[in-house]
Assembly symmetry: C2
Homo-oligomer: 367 residues x 2
DNA sequence: GTGAAAGCGCTAACAT
DNA sequence: ATGTTAGCGCTTTCAC
């Protein structure tokens, strides 16, 4: 067991997960008495290069030499020094992760999916959350490239203005993958949700339930998904012969509070409407509170549909009908594509659009 | 071998050795036109060392030389190579961040706070979310130390069993700071919330509103905060002359669903109770749904108090009375302490306990 | 199959 | 104030 734990080179039996469990009492030596490849070589009676070959699982090592070296590695609890490896090999196995907001369900889902995926391939993420401030991105980018991340994953909402910015980065040779930025004709790798269709599905659901005056609470203007979902809304309305009423539309910023306020704004106009499509679940839940405060019952008086299907949607009052988007998968796929871009020199940028799913719960009833 | 590396879309668990091989067939284009310190030195007509001094802001450079070098650096858009710097200086300015769960509000708050803080000092985080699986920690730790993170921040729930594990790590010379793990007498740096007092405040609030039969939905057993909040519950009950009834306590796992189910379990016992203390807001919201389904009105029939004050608490139905804990500050403080531990050789471990705050909303009324 | 030599890009200690 | 001399720990030729 002890041998296995440390023996990175053993290719056949040890998975990453197995390799390190059950050795929590191992001493991880850091600055003080750091064991080097030279000490391993000396103790094994071979040259440094042979140890290096064993470490990298090269074929050209005699089986018995390999075994002996592995034993010494285990014995000494030798840890290869990633920095030195990186300097010599130009490989860091480190990726940059840039995200807007760790408090947004969609983004954390992407991050979680991506992280799980890259771990399978032995990569790590350097973190760079921009805290909703896209202006910080160039600085992070620089710090990230200084550390020679081998690629960068953008887990955040796209906006049209990013295009040039990202293209520049890509042209400088850093593989990038971005989420939330599907545009036909872009030439970097994108994984996105089909937001147009999602917005259409949501609106269609309301139409199918007999609603004709459908209010909408949108995301912020800068977000591409806002435009897409709005487009879907229009696309559903048109064939039903419903003319969209701009008076019934208010803009939010994805937060509960903004949904609450947007709903109030619409209510204040005293215009008739029987249903609301909110561009995310949080705003839908905020809107429900505003509706309740205005004496409207949901869903008896007003039906509402959200977007995201975050966990709390199911436990809202009433349980929220919504559009599910599988952001975890977006993260996984994005990560896989990024690694592919890095490791396969022939790989070229591709665009991917994942479909949504209507989740019927009780916030939406027949008029 | 090559086939494996390229066949990325298939989600296999690769072995460590496999993960680390396959270097020569990948071309990292961003290295191509990489400018080195030598080129800067040559163009500026000084030695490499002088450039290094300028880069590191050393005082012993003539002002005009410094200026000239800086000009060339800008002109060439030279980016120092962090790996080489790290190798030579033994400093990486990189910290490890280990967290359980990016989908938990408290943890993401910690992460956000910590990230903002370390950025001020020019550090970066390497990410290692363990996805609720603490067994993975040793593996991450190893990969992190291989990359020579200068310290590790544990942003996650503590459990007693961690103690040895963390001590070992610290003894090996890696500065660590952990959250959610306040224990008197531990000798590593801890930033935690006063959960005993928080639990007491929550329970006291219910008592003050005239409640005597107070049910409780706890967090999972492994979490230290569960025990602390439970202790606070008892400490509030005792002086009020109320004997805790174990029948009124059910265990959850922090999720909405578990709160819903725990509430059902308690309701099934048909025991009288007029109030519920849930160990977090999510479970409180789940519990409200169960209560509603059972025909109980909140707060008219049953009062409920949560814990966390996550954003949705305010928009729940009814708006949730809860205990606010400032996790963002926990993150900031933890990060600052970690950097202190790294940069100040005389720094010693310290323990910090932040206080909570009762947030009154409408889920809790006088009996 | 193994080892020797030569760096990767930078910083550090000591010169001057 | 600036340059010289040595590495940091590892990988990568290219010998043998």
């Amino acid at each position: 067991m002890l041998a296995l734990t440390v023996a990175l080179p053993i290719a056949v039996t040890v998975t990453i997960a197995e390799a390190f469990t059950g050795k929590s009492n191992s001493i991880i030596s850091m600055n003080a008495k750091h064991i080097t490849i030279g000490q391993v070589a000396e103790k094994a009676g071979v040259s440094i290069q042979t140890v290096s070959r064993v470490l990298n699982n090269r074929p050209d090592v005699a089986p018995e030499t390999r075994q002996r070296v592995q034993l010494i590695i285990a014995e000494l609890d030798y840890q290869p020094y990633a920095l030195a490896r990186g300097l010599a090999s130009r490989r860091t196995r480190t990726l940059g992760l840039i995200t807007f907001d760790f408090n947004d369900y969609s983004f954390t889902q992407i991050v979680t999916g991506a992280e799980n995926e890259i771990r399978k391939y032995g990569y790590f993420f350097m973190l760079g959350s921009t805290n909703c401030n896209p202006k910080d991105e160039p600085e992070y980018l620089r710090l990230l490239t200084e550390r020679h991340v081998e690629g960068i994953l953008f887990a955040r909402a796209g906006s049209e203005s990013d295009k040039e910015h990202l293209l520049n980065l890509q042209n400088s040779g850093v593989p990038i993958v971005t989420t939330g930025f599907y545009l036909p004709g872009v030439d970097f790798t994108v994984v996105d949700i089909n937001n147009v269709d999602g917005g259409k599905k949501a609106t269609q659901c309301l139409i199918d339930h007999g609603h004709k005056q459908i209010a909408m609470i949108t995301g912020p203007q800068y977000a591409k998904s806002t435009h897409d979902r709005t487009k879907g809304y229009r696309e559903a309305l048109r064939p039903a012969g419903i003319i969209p009423n701009p008076q019934l539309v208010a803009i939010g910023d994805w937060s509960y509070r903004s949904g609450y306020q947007a709903m109030k704004t619409i209510l204040d106009k005293q215009l008739p409407f029987s249903a609301v499509f909110a561009h995310n679940d949080r705003m839908a839940i905020g809107a429900i509170l505003a509706l309740r405060e205005a004496g409207k019952r949901v869903p008896q008086d007003i039906s509402i549909i959200g977007y995201d299907d975050m966990p709390e949607a199911e436990f809202a009052d009433p349980p929220l009908t919504t559009i599910r988007q599988r952001m975890y998968e977006v993260g996984e796929l994005a990560a896989r594509l990024l690694i592919q871009l890095i490791e396969d020199p022939t790989a070229t940028p591709t665009q991917h659009l994942l479909e949504t799913e209507l989740i019927m719960r009780s916030s939406c009833v027949r008029r």
